[in-house]
């Protein structure tokens, strides 16, 4: 009458799909000649850290572009990600406070 009566079946409560894991880009062998993005995620004092990096990088002859997320607790808006993608080769972000 019933299917394999001694066996129980459970329904999967998960999304059944791991998120698509994008492989990370390889670290560049050298950042010589690259434009470097500095992303402020709006965490407290992140700007202090990034200002110092900006100063050091600029002194060493790198071109630096600054970006900012409106708020650390949200995912970066697509437009911001696309802007960074189009303008710089490397991004450094100031994470946590």
């Amino acid at each position: 009458m019933t299917e394999t009566s001694a066996e129980v079946f459970l329904l999967d409560p998960t999304a059944e799909s791991s998120p698509v894991m994008m492989p990370r880009l390889k670290r560049p062998a050298s950042i010589e000649g690259m434009t470097i993005g500095l992303l402020d995620i709006a965490k407290q004092r992140g700007d202090v850290f990034l200002d110092r990096l900006d100063e050091r990088l600029t002194t060493n002859g790198f071109k630096v572009e600054r970006f900012a997320k409106p708020r650390f607790s949200i995912v970066a808006p697509d437009a911001l990600k696309q802007e960074m993608q189009s303008r710089v080769q490397v991004v450094i972000e100031g994470l946590a406070d």
Partner: protein
Amino acid sequence: MLETAERAAAAPLNLPADGLVAVVKRDCPTCVLVAPLIKELSDRGVPITVYSQDDPSFPDGLSGVRYDDDLGSSFGLNIEFVPTVIRMEAGREAERIFGWSRAQWQALTGIPDLGKTLPDMRPACGSKTTDPGMQARLKVRFSQTGLASRRIPVPREIDPLELVHERGWSDGLPLVPPTEERVMLMLEGTARDPKEVVGLMPPNRVECTVEKIAINAVMAGCKPEYLPVVITAVEAALIPEFGLHGVLATTNAVAPVIMVNGPIAKGIGMNSKGNVLGQGFRANATIGRALQLVVRNVGGGRPQEVDRAVFGNPGKYTFCFAEDEDDGIWPTYAEERGFKRGTSTVTLFPGDGNTPIIDHISREPEGLVQSYAGCLRSLYNPGQINDVSAFILVSPEHAQVFYDAGWSKQRVKDELYARLKLRRDEILEGRQGIGSMKPEDLTDPNRLFPKFRTGSLNLARAGGSAGKYSAIISGLGSITINPCIKEVRL
């Protein structure tokens, strides 16, 4: 571990192409009334196939009765009532009647004097296929659930209660194993399509269906009638202004807190009174847990992974209660948000836990708000403004102090705001909120800054009747994390 086992298929009915099919059960007075007629039809040579749902020897004296003990034939024939008589013609159903109606039976059989000594009419009884929970069981048994989720077999030597932990589905406490039957029964709690996508669940931003919510509600221990509240809680959590991703991923302690308003709260037995934030009430305990399990299992939000909480809080197992609307003196939170009293709603806000306010002394509202303000001032840091929110649950005895003085809820809030302003030199450096202060803010020594943003300090009524306590549920209250409310859809 995808299962591959075949499921049972309903046995072929093997009915004659022409003739009658009757479905009866002994536990039905109308079936007992017509049983002699069925035998009479058979004796007269009318081709009739008889299914008995509960007794192979019924109708008495009739041979060849098919005992439908697994109800597979009744399910296959879509029988809702007994007795049902179906007339088959050329292999197809031509006509169907149920109950006893002399005129209908005579017309269907073409026998004009059939049952002439019986009363004109007797109502049908419910088919055993409509017994409570039976439809769900039959749909599972005969592979007609329509559910999309993977079926995972539990090997005989494995305890299902252990398997749910091994697969990483649990918050650490035992779960109800989500069998297909339990999930089908759970889904009877809502009219919504199991395939309906409620939204994209962070952090993995995957589609969250009603079916997935139902599975997690089963695991949390919910009853089917709780499901609309659970679904609404998920919907509210997915309103962008709630900022679920931030609530989940933050290093802060917060959990999503669920507050239910309106008639559904009492309808499903939610607690709004003594021990309102404590244990002992199934609806409170399991609805909050179901939301957390959805976040964990559908969204992939797990502690020490995307959930970066330093401490968390016990409310991350479950944090759910109903607002006490009984005295009707102050507007409820839902009314403040524009919903009419009598509308069932679910509010979500972030909460760290319960910070008690104890004031046994104040009999005047001024004294009481002073106590409240002192406790509120210290939240997160006495020098912090913004990025902090609070729901104050005002107990009956404290509420009475305000009522006796004629203070409205808004008045209490205004008085609190007035007492919760900090001078520039009292504000902890770096805790002024988002962005820099304006130059004039920094130079004006008399400038005062409110600790709470507009809308981030709220009052609701709840708690037991004895004792001069209130409770603060503090939480993040940034510009991207706000209380969100949604009407319950059944």
